[in-house]
Amino acid sequence: MDPDAVSKAFVEHYYTTFDSNRAGLVSLYQEGSMLTFEGQKIQGSQNIVAKLTSLPFQQCKHNITTVDCQPSGPAAGMLVFVSGNLQLAGEQHALKFSQMFHLVSNQGNYYVFNDIFRLNYA
């Protein structure tokens, strides 16, 4: 399958899950996965999802502006670089963010091995 198509499908799945069923993100990470969220380092799917589900907002919607992807090397990994904005329920202005994923294939299914998230302040 075309890497651009795979990365777009992944991005859509990731943010839809985030926005509608945040705990469901646990299936997208594994034991060795790493998240750096606004500079805070977290490892392992349980800890990562604990962090994401404890973020201080209930409802949110990600609107994706750009998705870039590249193969990461000989092991069929993919780097995905996303920018967009995050609208929190009740907030007037959306927050801009950039995020980088390194997707690694486990028997044909991709999971997130690396995840780095940063808000883009004005």
Binding site: S83, K96, H102, N120, A122
Partner: protein
């Protein structure tokens, strides 16, 4: 060649690389070619460029002579498990001030540094996006 490992943590390698990369970019842009090799990939504002020669040319031909990068954040993670290839992912945000322009442009940039046998790193993957708005 880019930075060597010499027993440094991945964070230290990332920091040293970022300092080196933007120093070259702002002062000696043609020397950025030392950081790439024929398998390198750059996506610059959505445009895909392959290999050290084309990447070098793209960066040299950007429509400004003088610029200065100001780095706000640097995050890094190893790109494989322990015992794997030893690659490092680096995620940078900051702004770039172009000479003569009123306001700096904000940007985010991702690098995937891969080690060479002799202990130095090269840029295997790079993606750059301006952050508008």
């Amino acid at each position: 060649m880019a930075e060597t490992n010499k027993g440094r943590s991945e964070e230290e390698v990332a920091r040293a690389f970022v300092n080196h990369y933007y120093h070259l970019f702002d002062n000696d842009r043609s020397s950025l070619s030392t950081l790439y090799n024929p398998t390198s990939l750059l996506t610059f504002e959505g445009q895909k460029i392959y290999g050290v020669e084309d990447i070098s040319n793209k960066l040299k031909q950007l429509p400004f002579d003088q610029c200065r990068h100001l780095i706000s954040t640097v995050d890094s993670q190893p790109s494989s498990m322990a015992g794997g290839c030893g690659g490092i992912l680096v995620f940078v945000s900051g702004s770039i001030q172009l000479h003569g322009e009123d306001r700096p442009l904000r940007f985010s940039q991702t690098f995937h540094l891969v080690p060479l046998l002799q202990g130095s790193f090269f840029v295997q993957n790079e993606m750059f996006r301006l952050n508008y708005g």
